[in-house]
Symmetry: C3
Subunit: 216 residues, 3 copies
């Protein structure tokens, strides 16, 4: 089975849109102005890949060599801004709930896609034998943008606090690296990405949480 | 017209002093001790150039190869510290207002100079055809230090919240990149830097703001 | 005198454990879950070296080429998590005070070791003549992990606020760079590391503080 590059690209753009939307929503809630909304939206969408590229010396980072992802994130944020600017009541309405449910699923798809793409980037850069490194590259591609978003917004990163968002990415990354030892095929890539999506959505639905420490 | 390197250097030092001063003032208001004041002052002054150099693999970053900027920032901070330590009443007096007005203008000059210098650095590193990248390099050189300052001080970055500080830098960067397609001359550089200064000062004077979203 | 590589390695592991513990304690106090505790613990332990490697283009950073430090940090955090999860009363007991006193000393040892190792890394990468750079590399190796920990935890970095933690590292780094002009020997390394440890412990014991500015 040979995966069409087109399909990978479409999935990447879906993830970019979902991530940009999550960044824009954080910015709107922090009452940032248009520039802040754009920056948080774009950095959420492409920040993870930028951190990955810095770690392995992919200079300049891919977001600059191939600005289509930045553009997609920018347009997403602009549309959201115009929507909420013209009809601010949308933010408080029942529509927003439906919107966030859809975005939650697209976000999961993005997390899965970015995780396996991050690993592929590491393998192509010649680090296929550094298993810990490429797992890290996959996970940072998936969750790095959200971490940058939260640091810039002055909040404790979401992935440190809630649910098993990052664990979904880690599980898929580990599966993909194990599968890569056997075969470098599209089915390995798709299967691993789907594992991320499945864990992410199930965790969100059943409100899975990691154990913490009860200090009281 | 051939711009003297001396003039560029003097403008850079002016910007360095103004940026270091803004970092030191944030640190003083956060009641940090001498070390914190030095770190925030220096990082505000040279942090933007450091981020730029990391993005394009200028290793080690220019701040280390040419420590005169770090030294200028350090001395600025030290003088401010001694002033406010010996005469703390200065911080509450009417002098501080005049001081901040002057620094506001020097800061605008620094923003303009750093923006065009950041673009020149990208062009010299061979990325002249990556227009999005070099605009980003110019802007990050201009505003990156302030972002690092605010993240380290635990505040939402100023550029995300207020006025059109960053937009001034973006406008000048875009103008300079457009002009560079036609001519690589000092007048292009100066004109673009002056555009930044003008927007920055006018925005500050007339309290221009970008639109936000009214959630109430 | 020829220092056994084993001894350096043991000291590094001691520092890694102490730094990971400090990261985990911050995470526990912020009520982060298991993932957050692991991330803050690991990033505190290896984040300084990662920043150092990025600055000088050591790609990929050493933490990925030699994951034993990440593993040591991970195990430390896991043991702490299980301890506090099973016996949460430990966190409020008199045991925790004794534990933190011991960790304070190990942390000082780690700070000393990481500072001189950071400088050695810079010298080995060919930057021995960039004195400001290698001092910075030593200090960032020592305190960078703690800065990343505090930024991710949403707090003003500890080193900016308190005591002369960073100054101990700076003093030792300067001494080591001066000594390196004369001799590249293990005694220079050990002496400089011990200076860091001594200042760090004395400052902590006598509550030395840097001067600040009294705004009231």
């Amino acid at each position: 089975m040979q995966l069409q590059p087109n399909i990978i690209f479409i999935v990447e753009i879906i993830g970019t849109i979902a991530f940009a939307s999550s960044g824009a929503m954080v910015a709107v809630r922090k009452r940032l102005d248009l520039f802040g909304i754009i920056v948080l939206g774009v950095i959420t969408a492409v920040g993870g890949g930028m951190l990955r590229d810095l770690m392995i010396g992919n200079i300049p980072p891919n977001m600059f060599r191939n600005p289509v992802y930045v553009l997609a994130a920018f347009l997403t944020v602009l549309v959201l801004f115009l929507l909420f600017r013209c009809w601010p009541f949308l933010l408080g309405s029942r529509y927003i709930e439906g919107y966030e449910k859809i975005m939650n699923i697209l976000d999961a798809i993005g997390l899965g896609a970015f995780t396996v793409i991050g690993i592929d980037t590491g393998v192509e850069a010649g680090y296929g034998d550094y298993h810990f490194l490429i797992i890290f590259l996959g996970v940072i591609t998936g969750i790095g943008g959200g971490i940058l978003r939260d640091i810039m917004a002055g909040e404790t990163p979401y992935v440190l606090k809630k649910h098993i968002y990052a664990c979904a990415s880690i599980a898929g990354a580990c599966l993909y690296v194990v599968l890569l030892q056997v075969t470098r095929s599209d089915s390995a890539m798709i299967g691993s990405a789907l594992l991320v999506v499945a864990i992410r959505i199930l965790a969100s639905h059943f409100r899975w949480d990691l154990p913490g420490i009860d200090m009281d």
